[in-house]
């Protein structure tokens, strides 16, 4: 992978992961994270919409008048979202039904607007596509992790395959809270906690060597 592409990949997926660093764009997908399959489809959709919207914007970025910049960005995002929606409805109708209104909510996903403003506005088409796609990948990683925990503990399944027996907790029931809203919030908090602590540790200066014994106790 050539230099700038690798750099973009590293930044979008790790150091500047949209969710971990900016907590952006989770609203529209958190709702579907209680099932891994739905999350997979949604995040692939977001990645592709971000990629192609960035690409489209980058193609015309020098011709857009300032006044209509935001509305043009929103129109481009809506366009690609409708394409995704039409494709799902024609070729994967069941998935389209189970995602319901959440496909349309890709439009309001702040990550996409964020990438368009921050990168595609001022860069060339090919790398803009890549930037959008990798931002989507970073987004996908976190949400898939979330979904794995929620579906595994809430239903005992992963992608519909029973992994844990149905009565794996001592009370004989699944951890139902994992299926309901609050668990998503708690899990995001845990993920953010872990990542922020890791980042803080990394940026802390190395502890000075222990003072010589002579400087010791009074």
């Amino acid at each position: 992978m050539s230099g700038p592409y690798a750099k973009v990949f590293r930044e979008n997926v790790f150091t500047n992961n949209p969710i971990l660093v900016q907590v952006l764009g989770i609203c529209s997908t958190l709702a579907v994270t209680n099932m891994l399959s739905n999350t997979l489809i949604m995040t692939v959709g977001v990645a592709l919409v971000t990629a192609f919207s960035s690409w489209t914007l980058s193609l015309i970025n020098t011709t857009i008048p300032r006044k209509v910049r935001m509305i043009v960005q929103v129109l481009i995002i809506s366009f690609w979202t409708i394409i995704v929606d039409i494709l799902l409805r024609a070729y994967a109708p069941e998935i389209s039904k189970s995602l319901g209104p959440y496909v349309g909510l890709i439009i309001t996903n702040c990550i996409i607007m964020g990438r368009l403003e921050a990168f595609a506005q001022a860069n060339k088409p090919a790398i803009s596509w890549w930037d959008g796609f990798t931002a989507g990948l970073g987004y996908m990683l976190i949400l898939l992790a979330l979904a794995v925990v929620r579906e595994l503990l809430g239903f005992g399944t992963l992608l519909g395959f029973q992994i844990f027996p149905l009565d794996f907790t001592s009370t004989g029931n699944n951890w139902t809270i994992m299926v309901m809203a609050p668990s998503a919030f708690f899990l995001v908090a845990v993920i953010v906690w872990v990542s922020k602590t890791a980042q803080l540790k990394k940026s802390q200066p190395k502890a000075p060597a222990p003072a010589a014994a002579t400087g010791g106790a009074k």
Partner: protein, 228 residues
Amino acid sequence: MNKESTLYVVIFSLIVTFVLVLPLTVANVLTKDLVEQNKQVASAVSILQAMGLPADKKQPKQVLASYDGLEKFKLDGKSLVPVTTADVRAAEKSGFPIQPLFYKTTGASGVIWAGTFTGPGLWGNITLALGFDEKIERMTGFQAVAQVETPGLGARISEPWFINQFTGQKVPASGTVKFVSGSGAGDANKDNDTVDGVTGATITTNGTRDIINKAIAEMKELTAGGVQ
């Protein structure tokens, strides 16, 4: 031309709108028939599965042929009036689909009745396809045709464990099925008067229960009266 001038902005906006709307219109036109067929196949599959008949989503032509082979009825007052597949499709096209629709078939195991029944759920209507044997003493199947319930909770009425409870489930003598708290695996006993509900989704479960019980009462009344 100056990029910021009003004329430029207007022309630019028009061009952008046109360039965006055109592919969408093309995509829509190209996929319209496929989307329509998907809807018809999905609905036909629900009815066939509720009747316990084979229906493979991956074989749309077969599914539609099987659907065509069912006897169909619409409701006229309190009696059933036969209609044809052509009538059904024509009504759908006109924007006023025939509702409710009932189905009957005579198979190896006897006469099977089915219908689509709608009632309120938590957020909107739930539409179920339910199948019964000739005397409405046993259910042949259950399918959730349309629902907008909470994903992961109420929406679980579409999951296999819930659906399978109703295949071969005895209709209680009282005419009403009771939902109880279950283990999440579904009630395998088809001869008792209860089935498992969805934990944590009380309103959806109650809504589903009411639809089923009303359907039982309605089917008993309609099939007792005979067909016109």
